[in-house]
């Protein structure tokens, strides 16, 4: 398939436009010299200046970031373990336990977690929010990792074992590198889910804990200013940086080798 059809190209352009134009608009309007996100008036950096002195917004963004990183890290470790366990053993109960949080309506999960934390006397704050996010992210990571494992050649691990590697060494040096793209994809997914979650965060956040979605949502009533665009732009940049960094550190991560040869 050397020659690509123009239709395919058009479809690709349309799909990418659909994904990225809204983001681009957010970025462009963060430089707009008007309180209203309605029409272009002129270029300004005022919203970034305003953001730099808005401790509340920055705290919210910082909280979101910390929670996102912690939740994605922990849920990736646990989710990978769960994914491997589900792939290796034919367990009946584990998949139900792991996937249930994905299927449960968010509002239900939020309220139940809140009641649970109150029962346990956990002070509501960053920790409770992070725990809640970990709880619902594990399932997503596990799904991605399990899918990756299903496409992996099992004989490779067996070969390592035959050559005398202990189970942990075989996992560390053979299985893990092979499923790494799945693990990274799971981590990125967990990060995204965590950073934009509203419902569960709303219920599990305590007095004084504000995340970016909570902050923005509470501003909707009084109309959102381009300061929100500014902070969103910075977050996008940061996320992009994170992905580039991950890709630089391990160039094979985002390539799906393997598929081509089989």
């Amino acid at each position: 398939m050397r020659r690509r059809s123009p239709w395919l190209r058009a479809a690709a352009i349309f799909a990418y436009a659909f994904l990225y134009v809204p983001l681009l608009i957010v970025v462009v309007y963060s430089f707009n010299d008007s309180r209203l996100n309605a029409e272009w008036v002129g270029f300004t950096l005022d919203w970034y200046r305003k953001l730099a002195s808005d401790t509340q917004m920055l705290t919210a963004a910082g909280n979101s970031l910390v929670i996102g990183l912690v939740a994605s890290f922990v849920s990736t470790v646990l989710g990978t373990m769960a994914g491997v366990a589900m792939h290796r053993q034919r367990l009946r109960l584990l998949p139900i336990l792991i996937f249930a949080p994905i299927a449960i309506p968010e509002i239900l999960m939020g309220v139940s977690l809140l009641i649970f934390f109150v029962l346990l006397n956990v002070t509501l704050g960053l920790v409770s929010v992070a725990l809640a996010h970990i709880a619902f992210c594990i399932g997503f990571v596990a799904i991605v990792v399990r899918a990756r494992l299903a496409g992996m050649d099992e004989t490779l691990t067996e070969a390592a074992r035959d050559c005398g590697a202990s189970p942990s060494r075989a996992f560390r040096y053979v299985t893990l590198p092979l499923i790494m793209p799945g693990v990274i994809a799971g981590a990125l997914m967990a990060f995204t889910l965590s950073i934009d979650d509203f419902v569960i965060t709303f219920f599990t956040a305590g007095a004084g804990t504000v995340t970016l979605p909570l902050q923005i949502y509470s501003m909707i009533k009084i109309s959102v200013t381009p300061e929100v665009n500014a902070v969103s732009t910075l977050l996008m940049l940061l996320t992009l940086l994170l992905i580039i960094m991950a890709a630089k550190l391990s160039p094979s991560l985002f390539r799906s080798e393997g598929e081509a040869s089989t």
Partner: protein
């Protein structure tokens, strides 16, 4: 390697997450942009403490969260009917009036309401009315009245502004306006009257551009929408924005002669407040005229504080929707909570309205 980076970020995150706070903290659970930043600073320097704010955007959010057992808040700012629900749920701490000498500043017209007889738990903070907002240029051109709900509900007027009108996306607010238009109380619960109100709304619906509770401020400012059923604060905000953007028109407030809904937000103390002492100090501070006036000057909210009048900008003082003259004040009503059966009926009517063509 990635794991190591994430681990490092985790460590940094934890370090940032737990700063060792020695200063006292007052936790205020409030609407967003519902206290002036300079007021917060002033209170912080008076009490030698930090004000930590968390926000909600709907009374139901606040009620749901407290009902599920969330704690850690000192002062809450719910609307009157939510105050009543909180009192019924035993979630508030009675106020120690001796610690509130500034209570004398509050206009008695806003005290001792049926929502909290004797103000055992709550004191009024700020208020808004639900009125008509309009683009002065366009509405004058079209020769439409702005002092009656008819302009929102009567097809005779609506056909001239078809597609340029929005109403609030709130069953309670819209029914209240329709009931007022028909000459009933906003709190009327007679099902026959509700049917009549629903019929009025259904007949007007094809002329409206949208049910909108959030972006109509912007639409008014930009000039896409010329006439709204909306909150006085929002319409004030729309005009401020329109002037800042140097629009050729003004967004004005029209007060309907049939009457309107009044929403009063009140300061109350959570039963489980970690610092009830600071909470009382804060409430008394906010009852001071100057501090109370800050908010009105910022967002154009109504103010129940008599002592605040001398600090409020004269152009806001003369807005009848913000400071209702006595004859309009008599026709203002605060919405009462509905019973479960009533709420079910209203939801059914509302769904039918939303689904109708």
């Amino acid at each position: 390697m990635i794991a190591r980076i994430l681990a490092a970020a985790f460590a940094v995150g934890l370090a940032c997450a737990g700063p060792a706070h020695a200063r006292d903290e007052l936790h205020l659970y409030n609407w967003n942009n519902y206290i002036a930043p300079e007021t917060v600073k002033r209170f912080e320097s008076v009490c030698q403490c930090d004000v930590v704010q968390t926000y909600y955007s709907d009374n139901e959010e606040l009620l749901a969260k407290l009902a599920a057992g969330a704690t850690g808040y000192d002062v809450l700012v719910p609307t009157s009917n939510a105050v009543q629900a909180l009192i019924r749920g035993g979630q508030l701490k009675p106020l120690d009036k001796l610690a509130l000498p500034n209570l004398k500043n509050v206009d008695p017209a806003y005290l001792n309401t049926p929502f909290d007889p004797g103000n055992q738990y709550s004191v009024p903070y700020a208020m808004s009315t639900t009125i008509i907002g309009y683009n002065d240029e366009k509405i004058r051109e079209l020769g439409l009245p702005t002092d009656t709900w008819a302009v929102i509900f009567d097809p005779k007027y609506l056909e001239k502004v078809k597609g340029r009108v929005t109403v609030l996306d709130s069953a309670n607010e819209l029914f209240a306006a329709a009931l007022k238009y028909l000459g009933y109380s906003a709190n009327d619960v007679d099902p026959a009257h509700w049917d009549a109100a629903a019929a009025v709304i259904r007949k007007a619906k094809p002329y409206w551009a949208a049910f909108n509770a959030s972006s109509y401020i912007k639409e008014l400012t930009v000039g896409n929408i010329w006439l709204v059923h909306g909150y006085s604060n929002d319409i004030f905000q729309a005009n401020q924005d329109a002037q800042a953007a140097r629009r050729p028109f003004h967004i004005l407030q029209g007060i309907p002669k049939e009457g309107a809904v009044l929403a009063v937000d009140n300061m109350v103390i959570d039963k489980n407040a970690p610092r009830p002492d600071l909470a009382l100090k804060f409430i008394n501070f906010m009852l001071d005229g100057r501090n109370s006036a800050d908010l009105t000057n910022l967002i154009g909210s109504g103010n129940p504080n008599k002592d605040a009048m001398r600090y409020i900008k004269p152009e806001i003082l003369k807005l009848p929707a913000v400071f209702p003259p006595p004859d309009f004040q008599k026709k203002l009503e605060q919405l009462k909570d509905l019973t479960v059966a009533q709420r079910r009926l209203r939801n059914k009517l509302w769904t039918e309205i939303k689904a109708s063509k």
